[in-house]
Amino acid sequence: LALKDGLHSQVSAALKEGRVAPTELCQRCLALIKSTKFLNAYITVAEETALRQAEESEERYKRGQPLGILDGIPIAVKDNFNTAGIETTCASNMLKGYISPYNATVVQKLLDQGAVLLGKTNLDEFAMGSGSTDGVFGPVRNPWSYSKQYKEKSAPKSHSENKESNWVITGGSSGGSAAAVSSFTCFAALGSDTGGSTRNPAAHCGVVGLKPTYGLISRHGLIPLVNSMDVPGILTRCVDDAAVLLGSLAGHDPKDSTTIQDDFRPFELPNLTDVSKLSIGIPKEYHAPGLSSEILSLWSKAADLFKKAGAKVVEVSLPHTRYSIVCYHVLCTAEVASNMARFDGLEYGHRSDMKESTESMYAATRREGFNDVVRGRILSGNYFLLKQNYEKYFVKAQKVRRLIANDFVKVFSSGIDILLTPTTLSDAAPYTEFIQEDNRTRSAQDDILTQAANMAGLPAINVPTALSERGLPVGLQFIGRSFQEKQLLTVAKWFEKQVKFPMIQLEEVKRHDNGVFQHQKSASFS
């Protein structure tokens, strides 16, 4: 068994048949995390508890009583989900040292099914950003920066300019989770998605990133950014694995009143062979300014792929697309202003030494605890919520939100099943280039293709499609109807099969897999 193997297709069977033990799997992942530390994907590695969980899993397998397909599977969780007994920082000074007293519902569900929690992954501070570069623990490096594919395409550099200087970003804000999955240190990871934070890094890191329908998966325990748009996101190496995770996480949670009460039944994805009954919509507004010609061409090729296979491919219009970023900007900052008010130093988190008065203690705590991005959004949000601005900005944005959501309703009720769009404007930028622009500008640019799905609450998924000329991953996005994840994932799986996205060739991983299983013939890796 190799760490690159699919959960659904190979690993679960291997565990059940005793070909690999949970403790062994856990140890290999932990070792790989150590040797890929330079990626900075993990903030906390919960080595002891993970090994204990793996031992307990092993006992269950020995008794022939595994809890399910996730029993013994190593996973990682973005550091904005509460995890009992494990530090949860949101990559902010405000929560450094904060040990959660409880598990987020999604974390609890994973643990209840025997998953092994390896650790908490890195992100932009409080999930605000599109690069995973603005957290207090430093930026996350895209594993593809160290891939054979990228190195081959890089112009030969002089001896002084080593690989240290041209590494590329993961995208964000769930960059740590995407990097963790991409570098094989875990089989799946949880992210969050408010404006594209799961799909964007998934595209840049060459992994599957699923944003479920708003209301399908519980947000209880996910430290909130925008209550009306946040969802837990799922990152895996293949679509089948995403379906497995979805099956174990979806469903009503009495602790989150924004989860729908309908029964959710986990599903197996059919192997679609006939797409002739499918109607794919290509929204013309997603040919956004700044879209690279490479991605435009890939998008076009994908549309042709569906056409040749017999599907109906139609150009559609979502006329308010270009306002979704502006609308998001207002609604997000407004909700952030409200959500960040809880951080005052009294009950948890950082507390300033200032003792003069409650208010001055709060102000000092927040000055010390939040970075400029967070503070900027809080101040902007408060501005839009001022009595004299409320109608003009906040309510106005809510009206525009309805127009955006209605655009999708119109298109989906005209016979379109799925929308196909690019996920990002280009492949991953080098870090040194990315940080030239400020966070707000970057977020506004990078979220343009992913944000509207959050506005409308629709499910969307990034599927890794091909490598760019620079040898970096490029993904395409499918957007589906509300709560129609099965259809969305079925189409995504068909597409994934057609494009055969190449596996990342990483020295570190090769060394690990070959070293541990010398006697086993590993599937073609390089």
Binding site: Y98, I99, P101, Y102, Y214, G215, S228, P254, S257, T258, T259, I260, H320, Y323, V326, C327, H329, A337, D344, G345, L346, E347, Y348, R351, M354, E356, S357, T358, E359, S360, M361, Y362, A363, R366, R367, F370, D372, R375, G376, I378, L379, S380, N382, Y383, F384, L386, Y393, V395, K396, A397, Q398, K399, V400, R402, L403, D438, R440, A444, G457, S482
Partner: protein
């Protein structure tokens, strides 16, 4: 169109976050400029949308029954200053010092 110092000060007070420097204020101006694009959209007759789930009536009130609790010890663990089962705060009812006394960046505006 600049935001007045009074409003800036009010924002600092409401948010309990300060602008820190001219960059912070500039950031706000840019944010407002960006948001002003919203006014290009015609929203006559359009109702504001609070939640994408508005058709599903999923926001409900549950029965007022105690279902969990008794976790005082756990919750107090994360607080820095506490006495018995109380969180301890510095004295309240003391407003933030006036602009002139605060030595905040806005004084220079």
């Amino acid at each position: 169109q600049k935001v007045s110092v009074e409003v800036l000060e009010r924002l600092e007070h409401l948010a309990l976050v300060d602008f820190r420097d001219s960059e912070g204020v500039e950031r706000l101006h840019k944010a407002i400029q960006f948001a002003d694009q919203l006014h290009e959209v015609n929203t006559d007759g359009v109702e504001p949308m609070d939640s994408v789930l508005e058709d599903r009536w999923c926001l409900y009130l549950r029965e007022d029954d105690v279902t969990e609790g008794n976790c005082t010890k756990e919750l107090l663990k994360n607080a820095r200053e506490k006495v018995e089962e109380y969180f301890v705060a510095p004295p309240g009812n003391i407003p933030l010092p006036k602009l002139e006394e605060r030595g905040t960046f806005l004084q220079g505006s």
